[in-house]
């Protein structure tokens, strides 16, 4: 259907119509997402494999964690809504509205990351931890979580591995949207965020070092915006949206598998 309409523009005559009936960038993003779903798929399979092969898988998540994760889910779902509204505004050429909705999406995404980071820190302090994470000074770990980490190391390993990969994707997604929304102007903001994330976290926190991802992203982003300066149009917004929704979608599997299936039933 799209093919026919393109022909009418008269410019496509030199080529066969696209097999997927849409522009290349979008196809490229879809293909990337296919492969990224397999990356995440493999991680989720590794998690399930570990879980099946481990007798007495613990179910330590208290209602505090579940409440927090539900809130995070709500933020992510809402960010998807604001994202489609951004795409919608962009096809009507409303530049201001696009920027507004993109910023709203980024805000929801950032809220997700902050809530998640907060939860990680709590869990680590409580004793759900990996061998390399330094002990949190001045905090007594709870027996229960410390016990889980010792007897079922698969539990913290899969938890931090899966959610960490996802958190990385959300963070990169926020940066991607930031570039689309604000272009060059986003770089100083990003550098500011990096400094805050780096300096405001104590040195025993994994985020103290993790924050440098923002610095690396800022460097990569500057290379892109300075070497290839352009005004992002509705197709760019749509493609960025695809990535964002995908990150949301992955969480729809991580949330029930990692959290809900490990709920401490009262």
């Amino acid at each position: 259907m799209a093919d026919v309409a393109v022909e009418q523009h008269g410019v496509a005559a030199a080529y066969e119509p696209s097999l997927f009936g849409t522009y290349s960038k979008k196809i490229g993003m879809w293909l990337f997402l296919l492969s990224d779903s397999l990356t995440f798929g493999a991680l989720l399979y590794a998690y399930s494999y570990g879980r099946i092969s481990t007798p007495n898988w613990p179910t330590p998540f208290h209602s505090e964690s579940i409440r927090n994760a539900t809130l995070m889910t709500a933020f992510l779902l809402t960010s998807s809504l604001t994202m489609v509204l951004a795409v919608r505004a962009s096809v009507f050429g409303k530049g201001k509205a696009v920027r507004g909705w993109l910023l709203a999406t980024m805000a929801c995404g950032t809220a997700f990351v902050i809530l998640h980071g907060h939860e990680w820190s709590n869990l680590i302090a409580e004793g759900l931890t990996l061998p390399v994470f330094p002990a949190v000074p001045g905090h007594e770990a709870s027996k229960e979580f410390a016990n889980v980490s010792r007897t079922v190391p698969q539990f913290p390993a899969t938890f931090f591995g899966l959610t960490g990969m996802h958190m990385l994707h959300v963070t990169l997604g926020v940066i991607y949207l930031g570039i689309v929304a604000l272009r060059k102007k986003f770089i100083p903001i990003l550098l500011g965020l990096w400094l805050v994330a780096w300096l405001a976290t104590p040195s025993y926190s994994p985020f103290h070092y993790g924050a440098h991802v923002l610095l690396l992203a800022a460097i990569a982003a500057s290379v892109i915006v300075f070497l290839k300066p352009k005004v992002y149009d509705s197709s760019d917004v749509e493609v960025a949206g695809l990535y964002w929704h995908f990150v949301d979608l992955v969480w729809m599997f991580i949330f029930p598998l990692v959290y809900l299936m490990s709920t401490r039933i009262l």
């Binding site: 995440f40 590794a46 494999y49 990996l130």
Partner: protein, 577 residues
């Protein structure tokens, strides 16, 4: 889509750096990939030479390297395998020739995403540098082979090379995955979107089909290897235990527990089996193309060839477990994998018979590209025949991890794919550099290489059946194995000769660039689009126009036609398909 993109479509870039280093032109990038693979293949070959020498003279003092210790042998083996599989067999036929010729053969001015294309080359380059650096760090290169089996690969204290060297190895593989993903999605999008008017799917040359399907395999397989690698890095550096159960190393209990080495094998081979097809499919495409062109006959069963490619791609994802029959995998899965593996022989056989059917009764022109294409078929058959043996768990149990497997995959994947690369080089050299390669040297190269290959790898089947194990650095200490040393010696001498003759190829390549006989725009009288354009092709491939395609790719010796070949762009005559 903004105006900046248009710049590339029109003006050729100026200045050395934009033109040859950070070029966006798919032809330059293709050559960059090709020369990277060339460096890689000679590096890998040098390593194999050292291994062959060590197998025969375990205590020899070699110039430069000194005496090769057992762990050095394993390091050489790992690096040889990794370099060859990733940086030669995946890089040259797909990323090298695919980049250069896929856009031209479908009539496009460039790839769909030129910047991404450049990035994927430079990412591959970084991956190569990271891999090679493993040689120079403390402890040296990793010992775990190209398959990186856990727990060996997951425990830094499992051996000298397992420290930083193994981390570099995994990092290199992860970077390579990202590069391949970028390349794959570029290839797929280009094929979907940029075919010139009239280039319908069923008029695409089989090379294009092969690159296209290979790209799909790469897209779906490399993502899985990436997460396998990430988890391995976590195991090594964050102390997780995805792949490591409770183990004791040198009498010391490791801190890991609860993981499963089988998980690594599953994830690795889920990628690994598609990967072997990633290596061979482009070669199949090249063989189809060349055999039709040099037999002056349409390819026998074009559609069957396309469907066989698709079937191989599809079934390639269902057979990975045949590498794991001896791993303690569930016997029910083993049964299913065995059946599927036998079934995948069918499309492979279809392709083979179609190649033979194409040659049958043709006016065969035995130029060097054709010789290498025939050599490809020969090696593919010889190596393929041992596949169905290995595919049966009962037979695989004694054969697994012996030289039999080494013989199988070197014939079918290693050297067959290399023959595909040679065939493509001799065939497209005139288009890439405007000159022909020297035919006499090429023929010498062909015959010595073919015979040498068989002399090296055929005896491996006997060695394997006699129980000679793979990945042993020395056979002198084991009584029953010492009896086989004469055969190993023979293979080493054969390797000397075969490796030496590759220098002839190298000489021919560079000499012909400068001094070779000047070639016309269509020296082989072939039909596909690359032969309709200037030599070497201009920056946008067709000098500002877009070709219009009226014919299928293999219209040779059409009855009633003036010439014995009809170019794809020739005007449509009465009834074309």
């Amino acid at each position: 889509m903004a105006s900046t993109d248009l710049v590339h479509a029109h003006a050729a870039p100026q200045g050395f750096i934009r033109k040859y280093i950070f070029s966006l032109d798919h032809k330059v990038i293709g050559l960059q990939y090709y020369f990277l693979a060339l460096i890689a293949v000679f590096t890998g070959m040098f390593l194999s030479l050292l291994m062959r020498i060590h197998l025969i003279w375990p205590t020899a003092q070699l110039p430069l390297v000194g005496e090769i210790k057992p762990e050095t042998y394993l390091g050489l083996l790992t690096m040889h395998g990794t370099i060859m599989v990733f940086f030669v067999l995946t890089t040259a036929p797909q990323s090298g020739f695919g980049n250069y010729f896929l856009p031209i053969q479908i009539g496009a001015p460039d790839m769909a995403f030129p910047v991404l294309n450049m990035l994927s080359f430079w990412t591959t380059f970084v991956a190569f540098v990271v891999l090679i650096s493993a040689f120079f760090v403390g402890g040296g290169a990793p010992l775990h082979g190209w398959t990186g089996y856990a727990p060996l690969s997951a425990l830094p204290n499992a051996g000298p090379g397992q420290q930083l060297g193994a981390d570099l190895w995994i990092t290199s593989i992860a970077i390579f995955c990202v590069a391949s993903l970028m390349g794959a999605l570029n290839f797929i999008t280009t094929t979907l979107d940029l075919r010139a008017k009239g280039m319908t799917l069923m008029r695409m040359p089989l090379t294009v089909w092969a690159w296209f399907i290979t790209a799909i395999l790469g897209l779906l397989a490399f993502g899985v290897l990436l997460s396998a690698g990430i988890l391995l890095l976590l195991d090594r550096n964050l102390g997780t235990s995805f792949y490591v159960p409770l183990v004791v190393v040198n009498g010391q209990v490791m801190g890991h527990r609860g993981g499963s080495p089988l998980l690594w094998q599953h994830l690795f081979w889920f990628f690994g089996h598609p990967e072997v097809y990633i290596a061979i499919l482009p070669g199949m495409g090249v063989a189809s193309q060349l055999i039709s062109t040099f037999s002056r006959k349409p390819i026998f069963g074009y559609r069957a060839m396309v469907y066989a490619l698709m079937a191989i791609g599809f079934m390639g994802f269902m057979v990975w477990g045949h590498h794991m029959f001896m791993s303690g995998m569930s016997p029910y899965s083993a049964f299913a994998f065995s059946l599927m593996t036998m079934a995948i022989g069918v499309p492979s056989a279809i392709k083979t018979f179609n190649w033979l059917g194409t040659i049958w009764g043709g006016k065969v022109r035995l130029y060097s590209p054709m010789l290498f294409a025939i050599g490809f078929v020969s090696l593919f058959v010889s190596g393929g025949l041992s596949g169905p043996f290995l595919a049966q768990p009962v037979l695989d149990i004694p054969l697994h991890d012996t030289y039999f497997v080494v013989g199988h995959f070197h014939l079918i994947m290693g050297v067959a794919a290399i023959f595909g690369i040679f065939a493509a080089t001799y065939y497209w050299f005139p288009k890439m550099f405007g000159r022909k390669m020297n035919e006499t040297l090429a023929k010498v190269h062909f015959f010595v290489t073919l015979l040498g290959t068989y002399a090296i790898f055929m005896p491996m089947h006997y060695l394997g059946m006699a129980g000679q194990t793979r990945r042993y650095s020395q056979f002198t200490e084991v009584a029953y194995q010492t009896k086989l040393i004469p055969l190993q010696t023979f293979m080493t001498y054969a390797a000397f000769v075969t490796i030496a003759v590759q220098l002839v190829f190298l000489f021919n390549l560079f000499w012909s660039m400068k001094k070779g006989e000047k070639a016309s725009d269509n020296p082989w009288e072939a039909t596909t689009l690359e032969w309709t354009t200037a030599t070497p092709p201009p920056h946008d491939n067709f000098g500002g126009r877009t070709p219009v395609v009226n014919h299928g790719p293999y219209e040779y010796s059409v009855p009633g036609a003036a010439r014995d070949y009809t170019m794809q762009t020739d005007p449509a005559t009465a009834p074309v398909d």
